[in-house]
Structure formats: structure tokens, C-alpha cells
Symmetry: C2
Subunit: 396 residues, 2 copies
Amino acid sequence: MDRFEPNLRIPGPTALPSSVRDAGSRQMINHRGPEFATMLERILTGMKPFFGTTSDVAMITAAGSGGLEAAIVNVLSPGDRVLAVSIGSFGDRFAKIAGIYGAAVTKLDMEWGQAADPTAIREALQADPGVKAVLLTHNETSTGVMNPIPVLAAVVREVSPGALILVDSVSGLGAVPFEMDAWGVDLVVTGSQKAWMAAPGLAMIAASDRAWRAMETATMPRFYLDLRAHRDAAVNGQTPFTPAIAVVFQVDEGLRLMHQEGADAVFARHEACAAAARAGLPALGFELFADQRFASRTVTAAVVPDDLDWKAFNTEVKRRGVILAGGQGKLTGRIFRLGHLGSVTLEEILGAFSTLEIASLGAGRSVTPGAAVGAAQAAALASFGLVAATTAGAGA
Amino acid sequence: MDRFEPNLRIPGPTALPSSVRDAGSRQMINHRGPEFATMLERILTGMKPFFGTTSDVAMITAAGSGGLEAAIVNVLSPGDRVLAVSIGSFGDRFAKIAGIYGAAVTKLDMEWGQAADPTAIREALQADPGVKAVLLTHNETSTGVMNPIPVLAAVVREVSPGALILVDSVSGLGAVPFEMDAWGVDLVVTGSQKAWMAAPGLAMIAASDRAWRAMETATMPRFYLDLRAHRDAAVNGQTPFTPAIAVVFQVDEGLRLMHQEGADAVFARHEACAAAARAGLPALGFELFADQRFASRTVTAAVVPDDLDWKAFNTEVKRRGVILAGGQGKLTGRIFRLGHLGSVTLEEILGAFSTLEIASLGAGRSVTPGAAVGAAQAAALASFGLVAATTAGAGA
């Protein structure tokens, strides 16, 4: 990244590595020609390890929310009973889409900042054995909580073995391990502008054999988002509709970088940056918003203190080049969020804390110079296994 | 364009000017921030003259077909009677979408290669006074026919004043004059990868006041494509869902180039390139496919002669750097198409004919060296008004 570029610390879109930026400037090609076919095949195959699946992956030109809609309308019929487990704004959205298309939605609302409660899911499924699908959010971008999908999926599989498990992992997949097949998940949605280090515009969706079968009988109306058309076209190395080619170039390059770095290294980098964020914010006097047992590894939310003029503070932080995200929905003005996904590096997180320290001092907040940066660094080193976690924690 | 770049003569995606390519490589920004808001406002306002409307324009992250789906689901309810006038593959698609969402579709199929017949539309509307919407294709990319929208719209307005007129101008708008308000059209869809000189990924949609009102009562299910959400978000300089930012950058730059060139000059350039294509192909012995009274100004289709091995011929043309489009649907193998829209220049059309002459001679076809290039040039000069049309025509 250029040195004088803003430090984009929102939970997506994420900053693009320079080779990904270059890919976005490539000349157009025929999306019905062999060059595109080779690239599409490379992407769809190359993503499978990150989904943890051997099933087909589809790529649609849409935001992540379009991907969520695709998840619903492809496998369900109006009247189908759906258990929507919401832990935040995006869980609400997933439920809302199902309702709009005529599903009979039972909503299980968790307190925002908390993960989904397996016991509550168990009870809800026991109360309604006819549930056709369970909607889960993997990483809830609005609260900084990452649900324990394997645990939740296991409950569904045990109580309602026939139910489809549909997972929003728009802001999770690619940044953390995910084992769709092993966990018994039926459909997973992710978005190009998150861990994949590309511009927004593409949603990638993997479906289990069971989900692909469900598409044959599902009757919710669909055309543009019909995954069967995507699978059929992919056989010929095409998409059914003209794809966002510039973004496809970028995803191809982003994925190449991820494979070059290695999935484990990608995951470790995200974990270390997350650890740094979680250590640095409290060192600045900010209370973490999420239940830390289920803290997201791609975005960290902190509570806006009562005595802080958030707007003035954030304006100063932005002026100094760090772009944070505010709260969404009912959390507007109550929390702020620091994204650490995609091309994120520890340097960028430390840089953000440097700026946050300066802005905090400027705002008259009581902070120890270097404390947040030091705590973030120590936590990252512990995460990387370079020092013992307890020692590192003492710095915070 | 780089000299050694292929001459991309498909009817979209079109070749990107270098400044548009550069725009695609820009670093990501916060799509909820002021920089994006300014850009979105500039685009939505800057497109209005090309739509010929003072109504609101919405921009969704989707292919043109997603835009067509948005046109249907936003203003109609299941059971609504719809007259779908199809003159080709994309007209069929528009009708299909309406049917999938439960509209009662009456399809008026014209012979492919012909424009829509105003009399047939008049009779169909007289036979069913309850028609809620009429679907029209402005430029039928699959056949190279451009419907006379003002004529067709006038018939609808006269016979069924209450019917909504929904127009697919994915591959027309921006390249030719369009007067949505003056013609009484209610909704128009276009796509970023056509006249707008950007990568695919964005569909722009303008709706009349009447169409915006229809959205309040329409009951087809919609979430991602809900235009009301787009209009509401645009008030705050945002899109409801994360947009394809890299493509937004490109559309912004493409639109800047179009305004700099001037709409009239853009239209004249397209008309001249179209005239060149229509003169050059017959000079090579290819019969034009479309009814020339309604020849498209963005794509020209020609019949594949019985005595030509199309596959071998096209392979040679491609090897020499010119990328043509084949036929779609039932026209596969029967026609080929030469696109001339977006950043197209007369030089590129002449270059394509140079290659087509060479490939034709190589294939043993009887062509006069220089005849196609000369005819194309002469027709373009006549189109530009530099010579009298009849004189120019004599060269072909």
C-alpha cells in the first residue's frame, strides 16, 4: 500500500493489495471466451478449500446481501418453516429476506454482542420439528461476534437432521477456518470485498449435495439469483449473466495471493491482528462490545464511552487517516468497529492504534503513551506463538 | 488503447478507455463516507440527461439481467397481466422473468431480425384492456435490431394509457438519444458494460413518478433488487448494499468522458460506426441479418453464409486479434455480431474490416481488397455529414 493512503479499518471493503488493484485495471475480455473460462474454473476450484467443501461453488455478481437472498430463494418454498437465529443486524437481514419471500420465520433473537445459544436453538427445533431450514450468521459484522458454527450445526444435525443449515459467512470465510462438509453445513455465502481482498461486487456461494437437491423442488421465485443457472453455465466456463469482470480479475489475484501465503498463514495473520485489536482497544480505555469468548477474528467492536464526543473524536481520527466504522442499526452511536480482515497486516493495526492514541490524548482522555500500541503488539506476538500469552497480556 | 490489444468487437463488455481502466485500480474507500456520496450523486445526476428524465435513477450491483428482474418485481404483482413484446433473446428473457414471478404474460413474438410491429401491439392491447405493463426491448443485442421506442410507446399510451412501459435499454442507452419522459416511458434499464465504457457489474434504472408510485402497491417479493431501498439510501449518498466500488469508479470516469465529448458527439460517433459496420459487412459478401429500417446503432448482425466454415473463419479472425460475437439462442451458428458501442472508434471498425478482409481472402472468399474498408469509411463520412450519403453509398 502507498504510505499516504488512508488506513481503511472498516469491516469491508478492505484495502486492496497493489497487484489486486492492478488486476482491476485490466482491459475487458470476452466473458464467453476461453480466457474467462480458465479464470472462472481456477477461482471456483481455488475457493473450495476455504469453504471446506468438495461441492460446487457459484459466483454471482451481487453484494453479499444478494448472496443471502440467493441462499433463501434457491432452497426454500413459500410457507416453509425457517428458524432464523439472529445475533445482530445481518442476522436480522437474513430473517427478513426469508419472510419477504413467504417463509414462515421463527426468529430467535440473541442479545447483540452475544453468540447464538446452542440450548435455545435446541429448544426451538424441538418445539417445531417441521423446520425446513436454519439460518445462521457465522461472523456478525455489526457486533463483532463470531458464532461457533460447528457447535450450532451439530445441534441442528442432532435435533432436526433434515433441516438445511444456511450460513452467512460474508465477512468470515477466507479469514478463518471453515469446514462446510465436515460440519454438515448446507450452504455458505461469502463476499469478494471481505477476506478475498477484492472490490465488492461478487458473492460466492457453496451448496451441499442436499442443498443442490433442494433447489429442484424449491418454489420461491428466482431468475437472476438462480444457482442452477450458475452451475449449468459453469460447466462451459461461463456465468449465466455478464459477470463483474474487473472484480473477477481481482478475486482471481486475491485468491492467488491467499494460496501463495497459505491458508494457515492467512488464518494466523487474521488471528494475530484480531488479538492486537482486542488488546489495544481496552488499553485505550474502550470496553469491548462482544462476548470475548466469541470475539470475531475479522472485526472488533468497542463501546463508545458516555464521556466521549464520538463524532468529534472520529473526525479527528479520520483526519489523521484512519477510517473506522460506526455502529449499525440500533447500535448507531453506541459502538464503533475496527475491521481487520483481507489484506490486513499487524503494521496497519499498530498504525491505527498509534493514531487512536494521538487522538485520545488530543481529546483529553487518560491514556498512557505507547500502551495501546504496546499491548496490541504483545498480544499479536502471543497469538503468533512468539511469546507466552500471559506475559503478553500483562502489557495491556 | 494499447496497439497490441485485441479489438474487442462484441456487444459488451466493451473496451475500456485507459482512464477508465485506471479508475478500476483505485484503492477501496468507505462506501458510507463522503467521497462515495459525492461520486454517487454525480453519477445518478449525470446519467439523467442520457435517460431523458428528471426522475430518480438507481444503481444496483448486478448484471443487466438483474436490472431487468428489478424492473419486473418492483412495479408488478403476481397475476398482473403483462404484454411482453419480444424481438429476440433478451425480449424472451424479459418475458420469462415476468412469468417466473407470477405475472400473467401474453407474449407477442416478432420474427427475429424484425422490429416490433406497432399494429400488433395495438391489437394485443385492444384485446386485453387490463394489461398492467408492456415490456419492450430498446436495443435487441441478439439480433441487432433497435426498436422505435417513441412509436411503440405512443401506441401504448394511446390504447392503454394506464399501462406501465418497461424498457430494456441495457445495450442502447447512452449510445443513442433516449427521451424517457417525453416518450412516456415508465422504467428504463441499462448496464455499465455497454455505452458507459465501464466493466460489467452495475445496472442503472430510471423510473417515472408513476413507476415509483406503482412500487408502493406492487407485491412481487423483492429485497436485494428493491428500488425503494436504493432511492432511500441515495438520499444519504449511499447504496443500501455494498456496491461494486471499482466499477462505480469506472462508471464515474466513463460518464465524465461522455460529458466531455458531449452527448451529441457520442451519438454521432455511434451512428457513424454503425453506418461503417453496415456498409463494410455487405462489401465482404455478408448479408445483414436485421431489417435495416431498424438497424441497431450499437451492434450489427450478419448471416453466416452456407459456404463459410464459420468456426475456422472466426478462429482465424480471433487469432488476428478481432473478437466477434456469435449468435445466441436459436441463432447460434447462423449469425455473427459485430459490436460498436461504448468507447468504439471508427479506427477500430476499420481495423476490424481490415482483418475481416484478410481472413476472407485467406478463406478463399471472393472479396475485393480494400472494398470493405473503403465502404465502411465512406459510410462513416456520410454519417458524419462530410460527404453526401448517396455518393458514399456508391462505394459499397
